[in-house]
């Protein structure tokens, strides 16, 4: 965190000064470790073992916050008799189909709902196959999967099939000994960590976990986070101040890019993209788009208002509000599948906007082969990134695999406006929208991406005819005020459309005002309120020093300016703070409302003793004690009866490429992981002696992503002037590597060279009785981007293998070989890789 979110880390430092104990668990020693009370090195790819052992520790010693667990989680719910665990099936859950390598999750359901689960509505309940096919889990960016809200429970938590007991059996073999064997963490270090987090949780205290892509870029990435969620729910650390699981997102508006997604499988506000084979019309879609109970129960209002925002008066009740204008998915249309489509020639035209896949995505060669096979390519960026210049200076030209003259791709490079030359909002890692004022006009041909897409859209609309296929374009609302000589569209007008308007044409102030009858328009329901009262709330800048510590008047957080989600859980079931120290939101019986330091993430006037009448829908179906309002049952899920493609509970699987055998189950790796069996990007065999080391990639404080925004800057290039690999003194001695000299890192994809940094910061770990070396590589380099420092692209080394829930690639734990000296040039590089592939 100190490395990659440096200014955010000041709050950790402050907390520590006030007595908080900081643990840092990471394969490499960083500036975070230097300040932490305790640094614990871990083998990359083994975190579920550690987290699972913590869960086991809490359950075995009954250290859970029982009152919280009983009231706010699904611990007491009884699971179907049909469910079989990884303990029963040697690493598989029930419902796995080896042929399609996908789960049918109907047997994971709660008791009494199996039938419903098997047939029913939920795209997610319908079958893991469909779910995995379109990365359905992403839809839960703002809430859970559909599941019946009423199921039998056992509040004594003794029923052998209640979630609590199921969990206990599932994690029983996740012991400190296993942690030592697989993570390389000693039983003493484990005990210190386990004691610290349990002692620091409960009524008076809370513990927070923070993570970044070190937890997500794995074939079991979503389950890493699930394990942490289970732990935090058991300890009562969710929805409470000082608690939570903090996703430290890496880029200025990466949160915004999922909320208003440029992602294939979702629409704004985490509504799913419709699927051809399951969603005929709007009703059909809505019956499967999310649960009917909890706030997802209002999904018709969200969807209809979105369609009204896009197709305006053309969208009417009679024509299903133009629902059939939405194109349909039929499977995985994600980034890596798209690249394969480029190589295979189905994808002809490609827009790359502020992104640099030629060096920034896993399996760089496959990326460049795709680029070289396009009809046309549009690249928009501040500098000439490698993706724009691959035809001129890509590594395949040196090896002779490509010739410039043979590449038929037509390339347009359009220079972009910088962040100070345009207005707009970023959404930071706390869901906070902050408006940027424009400081000056962009130079030359530089334009904002807003301008580019607006004017491109105008031109396209001028070119389309009367054809039926052009109707969605013709009828699209595409009218924004233009400013200045460059005819820049108004960002505020776009933000206002995102916020939404009512029948009177004025902006709405909350998503609860959205209607399903077509009388409201809203471009992204979770952002409704950002333009309340016709005021750009994201532009609010009341100084922090003049506000409470929650600072509600700086920017605007979704939803409804709530700074902490699910904060109803900060009070006990009766609505009183769990303790004075941890008071955040509470019930004021005299006024009949929830009040406190933040906007309550709960209906303001719903009393703690509210019980839903039978058949209630949407939020009315949740009791006054159900804090997790986006979940169909209002509860935190220790066990997920639906919603995940690879199991209702996390299980440890080894990375796709691992030097170690999985001792827990016969199943070595995640059985549902996404594999691309393609020659362009092959895999290292598991436990291969040719690739004995663990490779992990990461970032440095002084650089950003693939370097296009940092390597051309003199100050940053000087601070971190070269690509390096971090190796331990032991490995350096073994291989004859010299500090400051060169090393070549090899996988079956390619070999790259880097300066050697011999350092104690990476420690050899004893895993299953032998020494495993980890090699750390920052991935900021590439050959171009106008860099004052250039180097080989680390991502070229990485395999294309993905998490089945969200299609994120496994970049944080792969295997490699390491050799002293520089890599071969030209053809000889291919010969070296060929030699490795032969084994």
């Amino acid at each position: 965190m100190a490395e990659c979110h440096p200014v955010g880390f000041q709050w950790v430092v402050e907390a520590r000064a006030r007595g908080a104990k900081v643990f840092h668990i990471d394969p490499r020693f960083t500036r975070t470790s230097a300040i932490a009370d305790r640094y614990i090195p871990i083998r990359a790819g083994s975190d579920i073992v550690l987290l699972g052992a913590l869960v086991n520790h809490v359950l075995t010693h009954e250290l859970d916050f029982r009152e919280y667990v009983l009231a706010y989680t699904n611990a007491s719910t009884i699971v179907s008799e049909d469910f079989q665990d990884t303990e029963d099936l040697d690493g598989l859950f029930s419902g796995f189909d080896p042929e399609t390598r996908a789960y049918d999750p109907s047997s994971w359901a709660y008791e009494g709902t199996e039938e419903a689960a098997a047939g029913l509505r939920g795209e997610q309940l319908e079958g893991g196959r469909h779910h995995a096919e379109a990365a359905g889990a992403e839809q839960y960016g703002s809430g859970g999967a559909p599941a019946p809200s009423k199921s039998p429970t056992d509040p004594t938590l003794t029923h052998p099939r209640c979630v609590y007991q199921v969990l206990k059996r599932h994690f029983a073999r996740y012991t400190p000994e296993l942690v030592a064997e697989l993570c390389g963490i000693s039983p003493e270090d484990f005990a210190e960590l386990a004691d610290a987090i349990t002692a620091n949780s409960g009524r008076e205290r809370t513990t927070a976990w923070a993570y970044a892509v070190g937890w997500t870029q794995h074939t079991v990435g979503a389950q890493y986070i699930r394990t942490a969620s289970i732990l935090q729910l058991l300890l009562g650390n969710m929805g409470r101040p000082g608690g939570g699981i903090l996703a430290l997102r890496g880029h200025a508006s990466i949160q915004g890019s999922t909320d208003i997604p440029t992602l294939f499988n979702i629409l704004p506000g985490y509504l799913p993209m419709p699927h051809a084979h399951r969603h005929e019309g709007l009703d059909d879609y809505l019956s499967q788009a999310g649960p009917d109970t909890g706030f997802w129960g209002r999904k018709r209002s969200y969807t209809v208002s979105l369609l009204k925002a896009w197709w305006g008066d053309a969208a009417t009740e009679e024509n299903d509000f133009c629902f059939d204008y939405l194109p349909r998915l039929t499977g995985d249309h994600g980034h890596y599948t798209t690249v394969m489509g480029q190589i295979d020639g189905t994808v002809k035209g490609y827009f790359v906007v502020g992104e640099n896949p030629a060096v920034g995505s896993s399996g760089g060669k496959a990326q460049r082969l795709g680029l070289a096979n396009l009809d046309w390519l549009v690249v928009r960026d501040l500098t000439l990134v490698e993706t724009a210049t691959f035809w001129k200076d890509g590594p395949e030209l040196q090896t002779g695999e490509m010739r410039t003259e043979d590449i038929a791709t037509e390339v347009f490079f359009l220079p972009a406006a910088s962040h100070v030359e345009k207005e707009g909002t970023f959404t930071n890692t706390q869901r906070l929208l902050q408006w940027r004022e424009k400081a000056l006009e962009p130079p030359g041909d530089c334009r904002s991406d807003l301008s580019f897409y607006y004017h491109l859209g105008k031109r396209i609309r001028q070119r389309v005819g009367d054809d039926e296929i052009d109707r969605p374009l013709r009828e699209l609302t595409w009218d924004y005020p233009e400013h200045g000589e460059q005819r820049e569209p108004s960002g505020e007008a776009v933000l206002r459309e995102i916020n939404g308007t009512g029948p009177d044409g004025r902006t709405l102030s909350a998503y609860t005002e959205l209607k399903a009858d077509g009388s409201t328009r809203c471009g992204c329901w979770i952002y409704c309120g950002v333009y309340a009262d016709e005021v750009n709330q994201a532009a609010r800048r009341k100084p922090g020093s003049e506000q409470t510590w929650v600072a509600p008047e700086w920017g605007w957080a979704w939803p409804a300016n709530r700074r902490m989600l699910y904060n109803r859980a900060s009070a006990d079931p009766e609505g009183r703070p769990w303790s004075e120290r941890k008071a955040y939101i509470w019930w004021d019986a005299d006024k009949g409302e929830w009040t406190g330091h933040d906007v309550p993430d709960f209906e303001k006037n719903k009393p703690p003793d509210y019980l839903p009448p039978d058949g209630a829908l949407a939020e009315a179906a949740l009791a006054g004690t159900d804090p997790f309002i986006m979940q169909p049952d209002g509860r935190g899920w220790l066990y997920a009866p639906a919603g995940l493609a690879d199991g209702p509970m996390p299980a440890h699987y080894e990375p796709h490429e691992s030097p170690v055998r999985n001792p827990l189950y016969g199943q070595q790796s995640n059985p549902a992981r996404e594999i691309y069996p393609r020659a362009e990007s092959p895999y290292n065999p598991p436990e291969s002696p040719r690739f004995p080391h663990v490779l992990t990639t990461y970032r440095l404080t002084e650089h950003h992503t693939a370097g296009a925004m940092s390597r051309p800057l003199a100050h940053l290039a000087e601070l971190q002037p070269a690509l390096f690999c971090e190796v331990s003194p032991l490995l350096a001695a073994e291989l004859g590597l010299v500090n400051g000299g060169w090393a070549t890192i090899v996988t079956t994809r390619t070999a790259i060279e880097a300066r050697v940094l011999v350092t104690d910061r990476v420690r050899p770990l004893r895993i299953q009785g032998r020494v495993i070396h980890q090699i750390g590589l920052p991935y900021h380099w590439g050959w171009g981007s106008g860099g004052l420092t250039t180097g080989d692209a680390v991502n070229d080394l990485l395999p294309i293998v993905l998490d089945p829930n969200v299609y994120i690639q496994e970049g944080k734990a792969v295997t490699c070989d390491l050799r002293p000296g520089r890599r071969p040039r030209g053809r000889a590089l291919l010969d070296l890789i060929e030699e490795y592939r032969r084994g």
Binding site: V347, W376, L384, H419, H715
Partner: protein, 187 residues
Amino acid sequence: MAGGKNWISRWPVFRQLMGESGRGDAARSARTDALRPRTEKADSVARSICPYCAVGCGQLVYVKDGRVSQIEGDPDSPISRGRLCPKGSASKQLVTHPGRQTQVLYRRPHGTEWERLDLETAMDMIADRVVRTRRETWQQEDEGKVVRRTMGIASLGGATLDNEENYLMKKLYTALGAIQVENQARI
């Protein structure tokens, strides 16, 4: 500065050699006292946000004579309290560095060099290609089901795009029937 017989005793080098701290008063000279911060002379100041990581530190962007003269941390921000890390502090260079491209470039199929292209022409050419490719690759049905889409056009965006930009992108692509729309957020 050189005037007067006491100049040597006021000379920073001398004072520091005599043991005064180089980080306090002894670092000052008449010349440094006369220096004024660039921020004071700015024509305008814009309230902005750092474009690198997701912490979202506040920035104050100072403009003088139509150029960015300084970027500083915004002390009012309850998130960053005026601080910026090395990247945020270097962001003036991000917007002013000489390697920044300000002209449209074009590489024709099989071409070996970049060519210049007028922005308006480039926009027209791109619009032509989108319309053409969309028509050529239009898919009305897939396995008997209506899909109304093109698999011929794809997009990949970075995570420094504004929300408003992502919104127009998703809206336009959806109306075009282009579904292979992806973002750094996946990668």
